[in-house]
């Protein structure tokens, strides 16, 4: 018990910045008006042109009271600023208690901060695609897949904006430049669609969708391709 109290006190008196000592880092502050505590924070992170999902939790599955702070350390940041979009799902036991999202841009070798408010989850349809803010927490410029019982999964940032379509999957907008017939394009690059799917342009429309398991790569001056 002495040890527990000592550890508690030391932790409380320690450095307040979870990014302390990191090179390129985004501090993440999580709070909520409706969720008191969680034992697991599931994160969907879109950083630059990469995407990953991970989970952070206290040792032993212990419960952590909100507000809380954590950090996303970006390894191997290049020379350009990195856009970071984060969707967070706070869990207690097996259930999601709230989700929230935020995005920021961090310069290489610098620190940035994001604040996420966890709000009760809305009823999205598992597997369906939604723009952030349309029935699920997220960046309005990013297309997500609804994930039953977990954090929404980012499909990719929409360079030309994300379009909400009642009754159908939302999609990334095509933008003002028309696609070339027979060319291959990721969704949202000159034709509307899912940024993780490669399409063939036919009369300006997206046809022959092919899902890219590792993401779709937009290439200037040549056909786009799956990674």
């Amino acid at each position: 018990m002495l040890a527990a109290i000592a550890v508690l006190g030391l932790a409380a008196c320690g450095d307040d910045d979870p990014c302390a000592g990191a090179d390129t880092c985004v501090r993440l502050d999580v709070r909520s008006a409706s969720v008191a505590a969680i034992d697991q924070l599931e994160l969907d992170v879109l950083y630059g042109d990469r995407h990953a999902t991970t989970t952070t939790q206290a040792a032993g599955g212990a419960t952590t009271a909100l507000p809380l702070a954590t950090a996303i350390v970006l390894d191997g940041a290049g020379d350009a600023p990195i856009a970071v979009s984060v969707v967070a799902a706070g869990k207690l036991g097996a259930g999601v208690r709230g989700t929230g999202a935020a995005h920021a841009t961090v310069a290489p070798h610098d620190h940035a901060a994001l604040a996420i408010e966890l709000a009760p989850i809305e009823a999205c349809t598992a597997g369906a695609l939604y723009c952030g803010g349309d029935k699920l927490a997220g960046d309005p410029g990013v297309l997500y897949q609804c994930n039953a019982g977990g954090v929404p999964l980012a499909r990719g940032r929409c360079a030309n904006g994300c379009t909400t379509r009642p009754g159908k999957d939302d999609q990334c907008a095509a933008g003002g430049v028309a696609c070339v017939d027979g060319g291959h394009y990721c969704g949202g690059d000159k034709l509307a669609g899912d940024p993780m799917t490669l399409y063939v342009c036919a009369a300006g429309a997206a046809t022959q969708p092919m899902l890219c398991g590792n993401g779709c790569l937009v290439r200037t001056g040549q056909d786009d391709a799956c990674r």
Binding site: A4, T54, Q57, P67, A69, I72, V73, L74, D75
Partner: protein, 184 residues
């Protein structure tokens, strides 16, 4: 200043009342390993393995509340409400007042004790004759009284210390994102 006062109070209360309590032991470290594996198995839906790991954690650190909570959640998933109720009570008797997990465990207990819908109401059996009154021993002579007092004082000291010295939000471990993805 207030932080120092709180530390002194906490240390005095702990030294006076928690003689058997010592710094984290090897057993507790092993218990934490079992607990981590049990929680991971629970989250993966492998409830049989979760129960085995969590039972080991609980056996190594029987005074800790958290393994009982996870055991109860696991046993509910396994359909074993009888065992779950025992572990819920074990958790509730160890968790501090105001612990946010208490509400969750009470809700699980309520679900476990709810009568199944197929139960048909029958006439109650005649009431047994009342037992002769017995002299109640004084509350201070109950085996659990001083244990409860000690636990309450230690918990209060810890909470007070934390509240007075805390200068920031709670923390979760950072995650690192690189070329191959993100990891805790």
């Amino acid at each position: 200043m207030t932080a120092r006062v709180a530390w002194i109070l906490a240390a005095a209360a702990t030294a006076a009342l928690a003689a058997p309590a010592r710094a984290e032991t090897a057993d507790e470290r092993r218990a934490l390993d079992h607990l981590d594996r049990g929680v991971a198995a629970y989250r993966a839906g492998d409830y049989a393995r979760a129960r085995s790991e969590l039972a080991a954690a609980s056996a190594l650190a029987p005074d800790r509340a958290n393994p009982y909570r996870w055991l109860a959640l696991t046993e509910v998933e396994l359909g074993d409400c009888r065992e779950a109720l025992i572990h819920i009570e074990s958790f509730l008797s160890r968790a501090p007042a105001g612990d946010p997990r208490v509400g969750e465990m009470v809700a699980v207990r309520t679900r476990c004790v709810a009568p199944p819908p197929s139960v048909v109401a029958t006439a109650p059996p005649p009431a047994p004759a009342p037992a002769p009154p017995q002299a109640e021993p004084s509350i201070v002579h109950r085996w659990w009284f001083w244990t409860a007092i000690g636990a309450a004082v230690i918990t209060a000291a810890g909470v007070t210390t934390y509240a007075l010295t805390r200068d920031g939000d709670a923390r979760l471990p950072p995650v690192t994102c690189g070329a191959t993805g993100c990891r805790p």
